[in-house]
Structure formats: C-alpha cells, structure tokens
Symmetry: C2
Subunit: 510 residues, 2 copies
C-alpha cells in the first residue's frame, strides 16, 4: 500500500481521484519508482475501506493519463513520470503558463511511446554499414524500371485526372483490384469496403482513432509492432498486453483480459508476427475470433507480410474466417513491393468504412491518385507476381544464411526463430543480458538492428533482438552476425537467466 | 435561466457538472432548442447563488463535449444534440453496450463538423455540369507533360532512393528549396524547420493535434476553411469564432476573445481568406501579432493561396513579420500547381517541428519521397513560374468574367467581393434568403458551388455562396451565373434583411 495515502470522505474531490492523486504524487516526488507494481485492487480496497470499483476507477484514471500500464497476468505498473509530460487540462484550469507557450504539447505528440516509431524508423532508414534494421525488400531488387513504365503510361493516359483531387476513399480501379485480391484469399469484401491509405501505418492510426477515446482499453500482443504502440500512446488508450507464445497471443490470457478490461478492440498480427515471426495456427485463429465475438471486441488484423511466405501453406486470414463482419483488415505494399509508394489499405464493415473515410478526409484529403493509378497499372500488368518471383528466392537464401550464421557465431544457449516468411529473425538472449549495451557496441562496429524493447509497451525485451535478413547480402549477413556474435560472447552473463517469459501460474488481479 | 435547474450542494457531483448536466438534459429532451442562447454567466451565477467561475467551468465543459459553441460578441449557443453523438467515457463506465459494437465511434470521427470537409470535397470533385465548387486551377492548364518529364528524370536518376522509405520530415532538397522560397519572402527559416506534408490539410491536422487537447479554446475567423473546423471538431476543441470584416478578423473582438478564452492558438488566413477573399492589411497583421504575443497565443497562418495574386502588391506574411518565433506557417502546392500531388508543408519553431515530425511519423511514416523528389526537380527547372505565367492571366480573365456576369444577372441588392487573388468570389444575399434551397435547385440545373454554411462553426451563412471562377470556362461562367441569377431572382425575399452581420454594440459576456 502507498504510505501516507489518506482518504477524506468529506472532500469534494471524488475518492477515486484522491487515490489516483496519491499514486501520482508518489511517482512525481520519487517515493515510488518507475516499474513499481500497484497493489491488487482487492487488497487496496480492503485496506482503504473503499469499494473495489473505486480502486479500479482510480487505476483506470491513472492509465488514461499515462501514469501506469497494465499487463495481463502481471499487474499494473508505474511508468517513468518523465514520460508523462502532458495531460488534459481540468475545466477552468490554465495550462497556458509562462513557460508553456511553445512547450506544452498534447497527448497526441507527448504521450507514452509516441516517439517509439521514430526511433525504429531512424534505425531502419540508416543505410551506412550493415543494416539488419530496415524491414523491407532488398533495394537492388526493386522493380524501378517496370514501375517507371507504369508511371509513364499513367501520366500519358490519365495525367489530368490523376493529378487532380481524387476520391477520398481511393482510386476506384485500385479499390476494385484490392477487393478482388482479398476475395481470392477467401474474404467476403466489396470495393466499397476498401479505403486506400498512406501505408499500413496510416491504416492503423485511422482505425485506432476511429474507435478509441483516451482511457479505452485495447488488447495488444506483447511484444508487438512499435507503430501500433505509438498510436495508442498518442490517443492515451490503455494497452492491455497479452503475452505471446510460438503461436502468437495466448488464448487463456486473452480470455482473462477480455473479461476484465472490456476492451474496445484488439490488435493482432496472426501471420509472421512483428517482431517474433510467430504464425497463429488455424485453430487458434478460430479460438481468437470466438473469444472476440463473445466479448464484442473488434479485431484489427495487420497482415503487413502477406505475399512474403517462404515455405509452408498459406493460412486463412482472420478476415476470411470471420466473413468480414467484425474484423478490420489492413495491409501494405511497402514490404512486398516498394516502401516509397506509401500505399496501403484497410478493409472494414460499411459503418466503419464510412467513418474511416471521414477521418481520412480531414487527415489529408486522400492518398495521391497519381501513385494509386500507377500502382494499379503495375499490378494489372502482373508486376507484383514477377517481383515476388525474383525476391522470394533471395529472401529464402538470406534467411538461411542468417540462420546458419547465428548457429555459427552465437552462444549455444541463445535462442532464435526459424521464420516461415516475413523479413527478419527474432533472437532471445538470457533475461539478464543488457541488449542496450549490445546495440550501442554493435552500432560502433557499423552493425545496425532493432532492440526488442522497442516492441514492448513497457521496458521489457532488452534481451531480445530483431534482425532483418532481407536487405543485406549474404556476405554482409555473415560478417554482421559474426560481429554480433563476438560482442554477445564478450557480454554473456556468468549466470544466465532463462530467456523465456515466466509462466503465469496464478489468477492475476490485473 | 433553465427551468427546473436545482443545485444540490451536498451532492458528490461537482456543481459545475450539475449545471452542465442540466443544460444537456434540457437539450436532449427538447426543453431547450438547438440555437438557444445560454444566459450570461454573470446572470446565471447570481440566480443560482454560485461563483461565476463555476458557471464558466460548466459552459466550458459543455463546449468541450460539443454541446454548445460560443461566438465572441454574441454568446454561447446550444447545438443540435443529434450532432453530439460521442462522448468520452467516464472512468468505470461501459460504452461497450449491446448496440454499440460497431456503432460507437470516437470524437475523432463523430465530433461536430467532422464530416463538413467531406461535403465540400465531394462538391469540389464533382465534374459533371458547371462547377463553381472545386477550388483549384483549370484542368486544361495543368502542366502534365512538364511534370511527367520531371518524374521520369527522378525515377531514372534516383529511382531506388525515392522508392525507399525517406526521411520523415521530407526529402532534403525539397525542404531546402521551400525554406529558400520562404526566405525570399522575408521569413527567417532553416530547412530543419520545414516539414513536408500531404497537402495543407495534413499540415493543419498535424499542427492542431500537436497543440490541442479536448476542450482547449481555439480562435478562428468566422467564416473560415471547413477543413480547419472539421479537425477542431474531431479533437473536441472549442472554436471561438471572431467575426471578420473586409480586412479579416476584427481586432477589437479578437482582443476580447483572447482575454476571455485564453486560447491555445488562433487559425488565420490573412491573404485571400477562404471563403470571404478578404486580405488583411499590414497594419492589421501587426496588430494581430501584437495581440497574440501579449496573450501568448500561437498563430497558425494558412497561406494556401500564395502565388495566386492577380493584382496589387504582395503583403508580408505573418511568419515574416513575426520572425518565425511564434507563427506556425503552412501552405500547399494543391492550388497553385497540382492537387493530385498531395504535397504541402509547414514551417515552425524547432520545438514545434520536433513534435510535428513525431506525429507525422505515426500518421504515415512520411510523404512519398518519389513525388517530393519529382516536385523538387520540377520546381528547380522553373516549372512553377512557367505554370503561373500561363495560369494567372486565365484566372484574371475568369474572375473578371464572373464579376461581369454577377453584375448582369444578380439582383442589384446582392453583394459580392472583388478578389485580388485566389480562386473564388464570395456572394452575400439577404440574411433571410434560403441558400440551401438555392443550392439544391442549382444542382438540379447542373450548377455546383459551395453553400456558405459549410464555412461556419454554427448554422450561420445560409445566405452566402462561394463561387470558384478558376475551373470553368468563360462561357460556362456566363451560363452558370445566368442560371444562378434566375434562381436567385425567383427566390428573392419580398422584405430582404441586410446581409451584413449585425454590429456588436455591447460588451458581450461570452
């Protein structure tokens, strides 16, 4: 329990706010440290002599303002108060103080994790040295000439049209083509239910902002894509993290989280999960959908790596299994084709699509029709299939090369995945390994990659690495992994902890 | 005063909330009608026996939730409760009710005015019949071939680079060129302070979301650009509308609004104001900046029509006059060049630029480098100057043609502006004229334009029309205005009210 917390039942301040203010004060003046686990609501309620719902409300208030994060099966933890810079003003208060003229920013830009994606992105776009950071296809295989021909034809045949304002929802022939492609994969979908976006990142932010208000609970996989965490932080939504195993999100913990947090939506990557490379089997996909439907929780399926399977059979998307009624599906051409196009899309039920279009309109009036039309022309001519036929064997060779190099250079006790597709390998070191130190040492040696903490809603994952194999040549892979291996050996803990997450044995309160 | 409003000082509900709930209830059950003016805070405070600040807090709470809007010099008014669909959930409440699975959306998509821009845009992109709705240059003058050459050269010389992920803030050579152009107009600005956006619309949404939280006050011109109103509605910010005269925002009312509402920022279009075409003189620009600085209010300058002056001398931008320290400047290539590029930019002080880049990152990972590089190549070759030399004489001819047609076909008592630049004329009819009826009748006759209500934060402006001259040929202009004139004559009120806004004589409470 928090020392010094006194409830004044006669105060005009509601009790839940008194509790929340107590924790906030203790976090600010250092009595409680970042990472401190808040007491179970049941215990604190008994100790304070208040209703348990009051304590729940206090914790939700703290979560809504970004002071704590909760993890299913683990508890509710204080974040570093320095990351909580901005809060909603109370009615009548003045945020516009002397030092706040150009420094008091909104939750949207200063919320927890908001800067995370920029960090990943800066690593990903660094092109000096050996880069295992950028998750996209090899630059030397980019179909620049074929795309250039499609672009020239588009400007020649429809220049005025595609250089004018286009429909907010997207270039009609591209929407038709996207819907047709999804139907081939078993989805029920009409072109009217497709919205073209500036890449998957915009699809995520549009979907999240369409459904979520500050304080709403959202189920995420732990770890998950940094860009999703950043958007949640900018909204001030509460990320409820459900740990993953080798098949993705654990259904037992998901059921618990749905029950306890009544989340508005869940965000999942069932295929080639970023960053763990896990693939959710069909049974678990059906289990997840059944749980979501029972709990009226919208499922947001991020299928960014579609088309990048290296071996094994394709699995049905959640969107196909669900019939498109409660799954919002999104994907992109950045990973399978060309990142610089900035073209992705989202497919959703009609009532949702209407809202997504409205938000897209006020975000940027629609994606450039010129690039949409050139892409559609390229796709219509079979350019994507031709590209994948060239790129997938290269990806497979590079994956195998990286797996061999890892076997050769990493300590025998290190663990890594053997991905069936996607663009990277996920490496797990002992829990007490300092990954941040490794990252900086590797960077000094000219080897870049992403530290696992970037994919966590809290500070976990410092013993994990995401290594992209698709952009480096085999000799770069061999040499880069050799460097990493040497640095890892030098830093190997004398008494390594297991890298596996601790299993959850007891029924958690939060 | 609101009948039946009883304050319970012993309740756990704060008094300001009791007052707000009283008005909300009355709006919902129809005891008070949309447009009802709330009593002055001073009067209500006296009648209820509470502190005036408590009533102010109640009104601010209602405004933050979108139930009322306030207009400087006029008062605070109830909106139509049907437009207030979505509210932030109370801690502990459940928004996830049986009927709310796919229908309960966020403020971001269902806030007041959020759909406004989509309406304008759909009118603007309709290309059948005669369109006075689309505010962009004539399609037949689009420099399609010259741009196509720049695009081909870009793909040939730097294809891989511009089809990869680019820097979040924008293509470096384009940022340099934009900063250099602004310096030529007297601005102090470095390339590091420029962020490339997907048109001016994204610049507006990024700036607003960087500074504003729900409930924050923002000063706008009344009327103003619909897209700005839509973004404010999606954030849940309070639009404090300051009426404009022929030189834009009235400084006397601005001073009052700054004092009373302590706004976080103000949004202004000093040059060729959309929709009224007003140009703010240099003295008034300096006055506005002095008032903003004194009140620590950030100025957002939307200079969308830069380059589109038809006559008269250029005036210094607010950004140039201010030295770039407290003005955030934004503009676009959509109006002066090609809307389909979706390229605009924002220039801001360093601390703001950092946040804008962070938000741009999580919105869409950056504008497509391909189009930025092609645009930069086009600009470097002098393509914009050549285009404007062709397009400005045509714009001037079409403006004059529209002014002559208006003189010929509209009733003598109708009023309209003679714009020195930009793309449209602003027409004002008697206040009791039903513009919505005219709009629909004209549409049936194949003539499209924008009704003035679309540019208002409330339901005002139904007697005003925005007529774009730039996209129609002289014969279309003559024939379209003739049609409009006939329809207006048929509907002319037997006792016309003056079209001018009523002058504010007394010191307003809100």
């Amino acid at each position: 329990m928090l020392p010094g917390l006194q409830i004044d039942h006669d105060s005009s301040v509601p009790v839940y706010r008194q509790i929340a203010d107590g924790f906030r004060g203790a976090a600010l003046d250092g009595r409680l440290r970042p990472g401190h686990r808040l007491p179970p609501t049941r215990d604190l309620a008994r100790q304070l002599g208040v209703n348990r719902q009051t304590v729940v409300a206090a914790y939700e208030h703290l979560a809504a303002e970004g002071w704590v994060h909760s993890q299913t099966g683990k508890g509710t933890f204080l974040v570093d108060p320095r990351t909580v810079e901005s809060r909603s003003p109370e009615p009548g208060s003045e945020r516009d103080t002397a030092d706040g003229w150009l420094t008091a920013f909104s939750q949207a830009v200063d919320g927890p994790n908001v800067g995370g994606l920029l960090s990943v992105y800066q690593t990903a776009t660094a092109i000096e040295g050996i880069s295992f950071g950028a998750s996209y296809p090899a630059r030397e295989l980019m179909p620049v000439e074929a795309f250039g021909r499609a672009m020239a034809a588009t400007l020649r045949d429809a220049g005025r049209e595609v250089l004018s304002y286009g429909p907010t929802a997207g270039h009609a022939p591209l929407r038709e083509l996207l819907a047709a492609t999804m139907r081939e994969s078993g989805s029920r979908i009409d072109p009217e239910n497709v919205l073209v976006t500036n890449g998957a990142q915009q699809a995520i932010e549009l979907v999240f902002n369409t459904f979520l208000e500050r304080g709403d609970a959202v189920i995420i996989e732990e770890p998950t894509y940094t860009g999703a965490l950043s958007v949640l932080g900018s909204i001030g939504a509460r990320a409820v993290a459900v740990p993953v195993d080798e098949q993705g999100m654990r259904p037992d913990l998901l059921a618990m989280a749905l029950e306890r947090h009544r989340p508005r939506l869940m965000y999942v990557q069932p295929t080639f999960h970023n960053p763990t490379t896990a693939v959710m089997g069909e049974d678990r996909r059906r289990q997840l959908l059944a749980l979501a439907t029972r709990n009226r929780c919208i499922v947001v399926e991020d299928d960014w790596a579609s088309g990048l399977r290296l071996e094994g059979d394709e699995l049905p998307t959640l969107h196909a299994l669900d019939g498109g009624s409660h799954v919002v599906y999104l994907s992109t051409f950045s990973k399978r084709l060309l990142p610089g196009l900035r073209v992705g899309w989202v497919a959703a039920p009609t009532s949702v699509t209407e809202r997504l279009i409205r938000l897209k309109q006020i975000r940027d009036c629609g994606t450039t029709p010129l690039l949409q039309a050139a892409l559609q022309s390229f796709l219509r001519e079979g350019g994507l299939d031709a590209h994948l036929q060239r790129v997938l064997p290269v990806n497979r060779e590079r994956r195998d090369c990286m797996l061999q190099a890892l076997t050769r250079h990493l300590p025998a006790d290190a663990a890594w995945t053997r991905p069936e597709g996607g663009l990277f390998v996920w490496v797990t070191l002992p829990r007490n390994f300092d990954g941040q130190d490794l990252l900086l040492a590797a960077r000094r040696r000219g080897v870049h990659y992403s530290n696992g903490t970037l994919f966590h809603s809290n500070t976990d994952g410092n013993h994990t690495l995401r290594l992209t194999y698709s952009t480096a040549t085999p000799s770069q892979i061999e040499s880069g992994v050799e460097t990493l291996g040497a640095l890892i050996h030098e830093r190997w803990p004398s008494r390594p902890d297991s890298g596996d997450p601790k299993p959850v044995e007891t029924m958690p309160i939060f």
